[in-house]
Symmetry: D2
Amino acid sequence: MLKVGIIGATGYTGSELVRLLHFHPEAEIEFITSESHKGKLFSDIHSQFKGLADIELKSVDEIEAERVDVLFLALPHGVSMEFVKKFINYDVKIIDLSGDFRLSGKSIYEEWYNKAHSFEEGFSKAVFGLPELWIEEIALAKLVANPGCFPTGAILTTAPLVKSKLIDNTRIVIDSKTGVTGAGIKAKEVTHFPNVNDNFKPYGVKYHRHTIEIQEQLSKVGDNETTIQFTPHLLPIDRGILTSAYLFPNKKISEDELKSIYEDFYKDSYFVRIIDQTPEVKNVRGTNFADIYPAYDERTNTILVFSAIDNLVKGASGEAIQNMNLMFGLKEQTGLNQIPIKP
Amino acid sequence: MLKVGIIGATGYTGSELVRLLHFHPEAEIEFITSESHKGKLFSDIHSQFKGLADIELKSVDEIEAERVDVLFLALPHGVSMEFVKKFINYDVKIIDLSGDFRLSGKSIYEEWYNKAHSFEEGFSKAVFGLPELWIEEIALAKLVANPGCFPTGAILTTAPLVKSKLIDNTRIVIDSKTGVTGAGIKAKEVTHFPNVNDNFKPYGVKYHRHTIEIQEQLSKVGDNETTIQFTPHLLPIDRGILTSAYLFPNKKISEDELKSIYEDFYKDSYFVRIIDQTPEVKNVRGTNFADIYPAYDERTNTILVFSAIDNLVKGASGEAIQNMNLMFGLKEQTGLNQIPIKP
Amino acid sequence: MLKVGIIGATGYTGSELVRLLHFHPEAEIEFITSESHKGKLFSDIHSQFKGLADIELKSVDEIEAERVDVLFLALPHGVSMEFVKKFINYDVKIIDLSGDFRLSGKSIYEEWYNKAHSFEEGFSKAVFGLPELWIEEIALAKLVANPGCFPTGAILTTAPLVKSKLIDNTRIVIDSKTGVTGAGIKAKEVTHFPNVNDNFKPYGVKYHRHTIEIQEQLSKVGDNETTIQFTPHLLPIDRGILTSAYLFPNKKISEDELKSIYEDFYKDSYFVRIIDQTPEVKNVRGTNFADIYPAYDERTNTILVFSAIDNLVKGASGEAIQNMNLMFGLKEQTGLNQIPIKP
Amino acid sequence: MLKVGIIGATGYTGSELVRLLHFHPEAEIEFITSESHKGKLFSDIHSQFKGLADIELKSVDEIEAERVDVLFLALPHGVSMEFVKKFINYDVKIIDLSGDFRLSGKSIYEEWYNKAHSFEEGFSKAVFGLPELWIEEIALAKLVANPGCFPTGAILTTAPLVKSKLIDNTRIVIDSKTGVTGAGIKAKEVTHFPNVNDNFKPYGVKYHRHTIEIQEQLSKVGDNETTIQFTPHLLPIDRGILTSAYLFPNKKISEDELKSIYEDFYKDSYFVRIIDQTPEVKNVRGTNFADIYPAYDERTNTILVFSAIDNLVKGASGEAIQNMNLMFGLKEQTGLNQIPIKP
């Protein structure tokens, strides 16, 4: 039985880790920390857990990290790097859900995050935790940088084509739409109900920092400099990311050929479902699945690929547990076979 | 391992039964029927189940009911009674999710449902399947009439007080608010998105047929003729029933005393959580829990009790499985320890 | 042409005043103030007004209050009283949208608002601005205390019966449900989208401060001490209040008789629509209408009255303009004949 | 005063025509027809109009079309062509809100609508009613084919660039997101609340019939064969279309230059607001405005243009009234200066 520690309990990734780990047959939670709420119960902060996870929250100073096999860091970026630095020499594996170690290095991080990075050594140790791409590296990793929610959706949607070399990899349009939980648990003007409800808008146009994360990973998959245009939009829903990608093939292709590329690429990926109709976010709600629908429009010689994930599960905490499973030799779906809550 | 048959697969209660039974450690689905979709896969009808429940749907004429231990009837009222009649002499227990056998008899049914009843003998055999009230009777039952969603919420909210004799049981106001799934899976004008979204209204004022179901059960619990005023309202949400009940005590009472009445009444009920703050429907979403908050306003000498349930789980399919557990000697929570999906 | 000044521009009541005054044929906005945004345009704060109300915001220190005929105070309670004190001796009528002068006096205010009141003289000058009750007093008023949103809904729903003396005025249950804009424009935890969406809950149980406002007004209308039980609930919608009231008649009554009581009471009230079916909040959205549906349940000898208003219009800014019209001898509906936005 | 007749009253375009014409200072409604509801009041069908538009609905056989100056046809496509044929020789102008005469001819119509067209002569008489493009032609038209909702959004978003010849007009990606009212007033599975709420998905991929309407108009504007990739998505909101367009310039361009192209193109267009931030659908709700935000990403050499309209107003009934104004020599904004309902 794996012993698990969770650093940071007050956000959505923290509460989803607890929801999913609760039923994990091979893991149990040893401690959860929160500096702002230490001494309270986890269920005081997340009231839905009353009677289910009445665990007392500890300060990070009170815990003994060596007692666990794996630490999940569910912290804001900029904060997380300090804890990675602190725990990296302990005999414990680390899964960092922040953005602090997802990019290739310090300078690119500082450019896109507009923030100084205090632990450069971490970059070389970190493995990008997208199991559908890097399953072998993850299995050996000491430190996993869990992908961003948009990047998980965008990369899964386009990687098979980028790798195939059949498309123009300098012109990839990724039009993403996310639920509000992507903005975190803290109330802000942008998440104020009347600003979101019955509304819809793009944001972060041109400069969203997930752009570089997607680009770096696709460039690595395709072994070729890849350029993407990434635009997020805010949906009036809680959970879910729908990615619409437009790619331009070098020559005509058939839809069957296209579908084969996806099925081959994901033939060993339990959580990817290649489907024959447009995906919808409610079909994956609460689960670690990614539904992908590739289509080809002969009229315009354009490939369209659509995917749906739950941003808090496959886009965060579920993927983190999938990574944990791989890091400890378990089947990737262990504890992650939830059924979508629909409706 | 219990073998389970589900008659009727296309509605929400059918899909929730499959979602919940999928992980039940002591039960497995033997067949699912659908007359309108026979030959298709269950996941063709409920696309979220793709890869998870690709079960071929049978006609009821194709199945062998004797091969299962328990049959769930997930059918419309008026239709269900025919299947109860058909299967009642088989060696199989029956849990009927329709309204056909919840009331005390044929005449009261015909008055409130405005429909002829074709199987009067069923009423005497049926046990009302609210485990928090009738756990012993359910354990011995051959036929369980699973309660309506509003009645589950309303009865749990008020039964302890009705039984206590401390209130005026001729004047109980029950103001209920439900999510749209209570209206079923079939598109109707009342469930058309623009008619519900950003809207709210009461309906079924004075005459909603759940009124009599609630009244009969409370009269039985209190062993005294009880009268309720029940008004449902339609919320722009998928799932959940919030019940607000107003009751008038015969004499002053303290809030502690009130809370004790509830805690005592539900001391053995795993799924009832007596809480210290107002309940919210998202705190029980996807689960079989009922959160109840009793309060007393000394200024007006009025008792206020609020509760939240998921209408599709505790108000339908979860409660049905809870009944199955009891009918077969299992712990009531077996397979039903889901954690609320929130947010 | 009336000249209008608006003190406080950043909230929803401010933006609704501008929306409605924009087309008022007998009034024009002379200035709008905002301390936090002075120098910016009104349309910088409320972006929907771009090109429509690009009015520069002033500090209150920059404006000349004497240049206008009427001042609307769209300020938080506790703040508004200072401005009433400041402007009360100017030759300008004042309509205060806050709660600072709605109650009968300083001590009751301090008890329910838990806050010191700094301008006791204001209470005797203020007229409660519910035109359907106090049209003559409003016409003569120098200072109008515009009612709260819940009180507008609750009082309109019950006043005809309270006045009729046909009911038990010590036991009135008012179960109200409001849209989120009632909580104001500022982001808070309670208005964070994932906390509201697909959710529903009561709040302010027993102690909501609108209780006393409703009670005082009903006591005045009925000329008799009246006691109400008021419970607000939070709907996942932007606008609208649905009030469900339960009243107990002293003796049996007919539904026709009941309807006559309402029609008589409101026979001169342009904005009240007595309807024959349950009201819905979308039917009044964006308008100053109040739809009221009275019903009688002979089975239980209970009167049920349901009403719908837009909390930002009839519950705030529309009612304020209705009051302005009356204070200046205009027809009450001048500039207020919007048609509901539905869907 | 123009006399107006409306053929077809039961849909959303019919109810929006009445909402907007109600306050039109130069037009009045002479009759409204409905075959399915003749004899009832308009406010029986659209309950929000009670007391505001209690107009008796007529059969089309009862009306005298010659008595009006203009007929609005608010009918389904396939039905509308019969009425155009019937009324084309009357001395009355016709504004057809259906898709029956928007395309260039019968064969292209039959290909994309998969339906026989019974009035080929109509195509040569019809003017495409997008005033921002064809204001002079509309002024002289006898028959206006009012544009589709998606085409209005998509064409306004891209026409200035297509005309500029600065982009590759064979590769234009248009990713559109619409509110549910675009699917009409009739309840269908796709508009069933639980299928839409908290959900999001693309539909009509590759083959949506608005594709050809957009392409034909852009080809005409640019005087060059233009190819677009159009993908609609369904938002869980009532109203609004957000269009995200991706275009590829032939050479580098500056953002200022880009903005100038848009401001020049729309310099005489009252309803187009070129804005400096991402548009949101709530900023135009209930109005005839189109908010457009053009941006240029130098990193990828891609132009991104985003726009927001209300699909029922600028995308249907408001645009129809704008066309009416132009056909009768009125200013285009007459009667159309509503302020957005936000929140």
